[in-house]
């Protein structure tokens, strides 16, 4: 048996086409018995090395065996006109159908390659930003797959118990409280992502807890941002602080 590079054959049809081409077989007169034996040897080899997709090959091997058996029957199947049917015809049609799409795939690859020589406008010349404010949010260019992917995000988000995580890091909620106050004194209003960007995970968690604590105590106010996974953090103004909490620290918080 020829040594075959396994990865060369994506599927059983590829392997059959390989046999046909290697032995220069007449596709309309495939020696099924011989091909079946070789195919089975290949499948056994696959099973040994536990290759993915062996099931597809086993299925095809079964098909080959059934063709082989039908070829040995004394009375061949007849079509509606009473003509004998070559049991191999269906397989040949399938192979040719596959070849047809392999050709089409090559055509597509060539088209794709040519299209790659044509460059569309780059970001430097993009003017969308100039008009961004007037861009309403609408659907469309969205695929159903996007919708499903969004559902996946909702269903797979891993929310670690933050208390547990904080135990293992050197950042304390109290320390992060001071950090947030310093940042707010400097920037007035900021976003959570801006506060926590590029920091260690423990830092992010401690900062997050500090912000939540401060919001609960009325030291800061939180507001939505455009991004779903971010929010604004601002010092609460005197006039809307419920208990006058940290009035001394409160400056403007708008803009």
């Amino acid at each position: 048996m020829y040594r075959i590079r396994l990865e060369e054959f994506e599927g059983p049809l590829d392997l059959l086409l390989f046999f046909i081409q290697r032995d220069e077989l007449d596709i309309y007169d495939i020696p099924i018995a011989r091909i079946t034996d070789e195919f089975l040897a290949y499948v056994r080899l696959m099973e040994e090395i536990d290759l993915d997709g062996v099931g597809d090959f086993i299925y095809m091997a079964a098909l080959l065996i059934s063709i082989k058996v039908r070829l040995l029957l004394p009375r061949p199947d007849l079509d509606e006109d009473g003509e004998p049917v070559d049991p191999r015809r269906e397989l040949v049609e399938r192979l040719l159908e596959y070849v047809r799409y392999k050709e089409a795939a090559q055509d597509l690859a060539a088209i794709h390659e040519r299209r790659g020589d044509l460059f569309t406008r780059g970001e430097a010349s993009s003017e969308k930003a100039l008009f961004e404010e007037q861009l309403p949010e609408t659907l469309v260019n969205t695929t159903l797959f996007d919708l499903i992917s969004a559902l996946r995000r909702v269903l797979t988000e891993v929310t670690e118990p933050p208390v547990h995580a904080v135990q293992h890091v050197e950042y304390s909620v109290e320390g992060q409280r001071q950090y947030v106050l310093d940042r707010l004194a400097q920037d007035g209003r900021t976003t959570f992502v801006a506060l926590a960007r590029h920091w260690h995970k423990g830092f992010v968690i401690a900062t997050f807890l500090a912000v939540l604590e401060m919001a609960r105590q009325g030291v800061v106010t939180l507001a939505r941002t455009e991004a779903a996974d971010d929010f604004y953090v601002a010092l609460r103004r005197d006039d809307d602080a419920p208990d006058g909490a940290n009035g001394a620290l409160a400056r403007q918080d708008e803009g």
Binding site: R121, A124, L135, E137, L139, T142, L147, R153, T156
Partner: protein, 228 residues
């Protein structure tokens, strides 16, 4: 404007024209403002000839702009942020404003998409239900989806306080190319499509997403079903 100099002479008209084409293409396609030096370098590398000077690149830009102006084109090459970039003329701004103000084919933001996904699979749902599934307040997202016409109020729940029930609109189906809600991939199909080990079927079940798996019995505390 000087239209010839040693380089252009040496290059000949064809070479000068070729430089113009390279200049135009690079400025058009670049993701950041391109400098004259960068253009000269690329041109020299591709043509395997002497590197043009930055002045020669500048002049090519001038010639291009003069050509645009003469042909009354809507585009100009601007010198901005230390490099060149292409932009439209002020005269055509009104067209762009109108165009960009139309409802255009854009991706929905992540939060809108998530809210829409939950709504699609859990409708009719109340806002607290959606908030619960997402873990965040969905007020903005829900309002936005209604504005766009993808979601709408479809009734009132029979539970305490009779909160509003939300659902997707026919427009939603239309935009996603579906004939009916039934055509949405069900839970088993989603699992197959995503093939993500992290996709949590149990969580989906706990969150009472319906329509996901038809044969499943409804969870006991499922909110009343209006459109079943």
């Amino acid at each position: 404007m000087e239209m010839t100099d040693a380089f252009e002479d040496w290059m000949g008209d064809g070479r000068a024209q070729e430089l113009e084409r390279a200049v135009e293409a690079l400025i058009f396609a670049s993701d950041e403002p391109v400098t004259a030096g960068q253009i000269a370098e690329v041109f020299a590398e591709v043509s395997r000839e002497t590197r043009p000077t930055t002045e020669q690149v500048e002049r090519a830009v001038d010639r291009l702009n003069a050509g645009y102006e003469a042909a009354e084109r809507a585009l100009r090459i601007r010198r901005w942020a230390g490099g060149f970039r292409m932009s439209t003329t002020e005269e055509v701004a009104p067209y762009l404003k109108v165009y960009f103000s139309y409802e255009r084919r854009r991706r929905l933001s992540r939060s809108l998409m998530e809210t829409l996904a939950i709504l699609a699979y859990r409708q009719p749902a109340t806002k607290p239900e959606i908030d619960f599934v997402r873990g965040v307040d969905s007020d903005y997202a829900l309002r936005k989806l209604m504005e766009i016409g993808l979601a709408d109020v479809v009734g009132r729940s029979e539970t305490v306080g009779r909160p509003l029930l939300y659902g997707t609109t026919p427009r939603f189906l239309e935009d996603f190319g579906l004939a009916r809600l039934d055509d949405l991939p069900n839970l088993r199909e989603i699992e197959e499509l995503l093939d993500d080990p992290a996709f949590n079927r149990e969580r989906a079940r706990l969150l009472m997403l319906r329509g996901l798996d038809a044969p499943e019995p409804p969870a006991p505390d499922e909110p009343p079903d209006d459109d079943a």
